[in-house]
Symmetry: D2
Amino acid sequence: MLAENSYGKSGIRLVKVLRRGGRHEFRDVTVAVSLEGDFEAAHVAGDNRAVLPTDTMKNTVYSLAQDHLDGAIESFGLFLSGHFLDHNPPVRLARVALFEHPWERLVVGGKPHPHAFRRPGGERRVARVTRTREGAAVEAGLEGLTVAKSSSSAFAGFLRDAYTTLKETHDRILATAIEASWKYAAPGDFDAAFAEIRQTLCDTFAGHESASVQHTLYAMGESVLEKHPEVTQVRLSLPNKHHLPVDLSPFGQQNRNEIFVATEEPYGLIEATIRRK
Amino acid sequence: MLAENSYGKSGIRLVKVLRRGGRHEFRDVTVAVSLEGDFEAAHVAGDNRAVLPTDTMKNTVYSLAQDHLDGAIESFGLFLSGHFLDHNPPVRLARVALFEHPWERLVVGGKPHPHAFRRPGGERRVARVTRTREGAAVEAGLEGLTVAKSSSSAFAGFLRDAYTTLKETHDRILATAIEASWKYAAPGDFDAAFAEIRQTLCDTFAGHESASVQHTLYAMGESVLEKHPEVTQVRLSLPNKHHLPVDLSPFGQQNRNEIFVATEEPYGLIEATIRRK
Amino acid sequence: MLAENSYGKSGIRLVKVLRRGGRHEFRDVTVAVSLEGDFEAAHVAGDNRAVLPTDTMKNTVYSLAQDHLDGAIESFGLFLSGHFLDHNPPVRLARVALFEHPWERLVVGGKPHPHAFRRPGGERRVARVTRTREGAAVEAGLEGLTVAKSSSSAFAGFLRDAYTTLKETHDRILATAIEASWKYAAPGDFDAAFAEIRQTLCDTFAGHESASVQHTLYAMGESVLEKHPEVTQVRLSLPNKHHLPVDLSPFGQQNRNEIFVATEEPYGLIEATIRRK
Amino acid sequence: MLAENSYGKSGIRLVKVLRRGGRHEFRDVTVAVSLEGDFEAAHVAGDNRAVLPTDTMKNTVYSLAQDHLDGAIESFGLFLSGHFLDHNPPVRLARVALFEHPWERLVVGGKPHPHAFRRPGGERRVARVTRTREGAAVEAGLEGLTVAKSSSSAFAGFLRDAYTTLKETHDRILATAIEASWKYAAPGDFDAAFAEIRQTLCDTFAGHESASVQHTLYAMGESVLEKHPEVTQVRLSLPNKHHLPVDLSPFGQQNRNEIFVATEEPYGLIEATIRRK
């Protein structure tokens, strides 16, 4: 018996140059489209009559981007998901995920250049739109925002058992790659909200007196809810990118909390959702 | 308000050499542990008294592996998840994911070598155990099983709209990286079941007259349910790794369905769960 | 002043299905072409009249593959490099690198399937052809052949200084990802030679009583030169993929040389060329 | 016969927190050490008496970083390479490569934060020091500086043959990930020189009227030599990260040079060294 199923196109790489006079904008987005609906005949009988090819989904994204991608990726996601529902009766639910890779203007002679850009890498903005014939939900967020603080982070007073060898610390490096997503009560100015929420996440990470990753995660989520009434919930996934102090005592030295080895594996992983009551 | 939350250690890289006389076994497993429970004080107040450090989880995995990893990863996952629940009253649910990287014996002088091995790469076996105080669920599976067939695959008779440019084909390359997971009605011989189900997936992929990825996906799931009564459901995620015929006509040649460009992006993504009625 | 320069196309992904009756072969090769020659005008003056576009190089690879890729990648590389020299007077030197990704037949009902394949991943075969108007040199090899041995490997008696903390070991895991390349005195049966040399590398790795990575590397190179008179030199690059024994003593256990952590960073890197005298 | 050989430790991940009062600096460097010298006995006879373990090299890097990493990575590389030569008579040549991952201060309340940082990702600074008993050579550079320009780039007037299908363009996107390295006539203020040369590379990329990647590459190298007399040669490796205009005509649209697909494979690769006459 066919239960949950979906199909679509992922990894649609879309770059749009908006040529506003001579001052170009360079938009770089990866799109994924996924549809759910009445596709049992395709699975069970190999009958493709209801199946919109994923190649067509890709074409649709490029074609609609020319006239409809001129603002926030959330808005383009709402438009795209509406298109797929409106034109495909068998579809009950359309998901569109958009990952925007930021490019900054190169600064030449002290001034932002009109058509030359740099891609910093690492971080990307994310929008996920889920739409049925009843309505649409928008989730905004970011991934890969790698941050560290070299003060105001401790981890002590924890549970100990027979397998515990970790030492308590009152001054450690706290480093993570923030993955955050949040839901809006209603559509609004998606670009302004994104910039402000991103700043709130960074501000709280930097300023918090951290007793653990959990503690800072909660503070970050709480700040977003306090300062951004349009947000109904925040989800945070914070890998603990461990920086371990190197034991220099075999070399007759004392590590003055200065020399660390940055490790990739294993890593802690702390995840939570913070909601309004 | 703190809603869903979990924490744990991921990327625990564990290699165990089982020295059965001179004929060694080389087990290579990446483990992830994640706990859910009553951890509100840690989040809200920075009170770590209930928090078992993720470093302790890592230590526990290595320590318990010495005496308890001698069979299927599913069995070790059941043991590990039981340990974390039994020893940590605040924990309500423990998840253990295990990814086994297969090593084959090197063949020297026509014979499998007793202590030299090759890691083929690509494919890995997966077990996911979820345990509460009420019981445990085991999900077995595999990832990265990359397969292709150069015959018996078509895609035609599909829906067309204004954005459709794809040509129908009755003879294409079908290539995918199989991600499959399935649930057992009850614990059994996990290693034997895994090997048989993996073979069933390959057999059906190879033998099926495919009208689409959906069609082959369903046939693969159906075969597993038919041949393996211990399985209650199968989930398959099949990226369509497109191989596009190259247009050689500008060079005065006809591509006799021989020359293809293998592409990474964009890719189709077809996912479904097949359950017993 | 323009000194050394080259240009070309990399990452040309080529799949060829050879439909020998119903028993297909599935060839999967990534090609890189690079040309050197008289291209100063392009660099200095923006004059492209001598510049064959890299897009044309890509087209050429696909077009020539239809009739000329039916044997070893070394042979196709020789043909391709000859083509670029013959048709482009400004070119003094053409390099073609070919990376073949092996696919194995799926075994169905105990028999190799005629048109369904599995890609094991990890390892790839490499051929590098360098051709001038005077002649061509062929370098064959492989990359990513990941192997390990759980016995017959020691590391002791080494130099110690004030920074040495490593313990001597007479029984460690030796693991590496073999990168090997070799030169032939003259063209021959490239496929047979490759298979035999690969086997020699594996045999020696498995059978050697290793005092260090250097020691095993040299033995591997020496074996190839001894058994394969057509080879004039071998280059080996062997990362030492460290497997560190886990200290279980804090948990009241003795690690019986069974439990290891597999690490990615840092890694030793041992490289050498072995030549005939 | 043992020909060229070297050994060392790569992937040494080093983070140093410089706690200058409360205003921390966060240095993040990956180091690779490689030694050449009289190591024939280790290879041929398994005699390790002259072999400094690569583990010791790693320890040395961490130990010396505490007192000697407080300025440019080039300076630390010179110190490290000198140490290995001075303390190891069999060593004839020491190579130290240092890859610095930049972190920026988080801006909180409009001000750079004293101990919270963001890692932008993508780009890294590189220093390569090669030292023998006769002297040392320093090569500075950068990798992964991804840039694009949406105007002032053409590719036309190129050579055409039977395999050419590329259209001429007078207005294309030019995108690349700059890999650059250069040599200094003598040691100096490495940090200042790096910042200025990086700016020169970006300025020239942005401002150049490009007839091809070769043309812009040469202009970038020429600018560096003109503006930075301390530089004796520049090497540039520029992948052409193709952005292909999407054909929207099947959908009744004209692509106004706005909608592109960003591709990874295949890619052009243009490399050259520019030297003073």
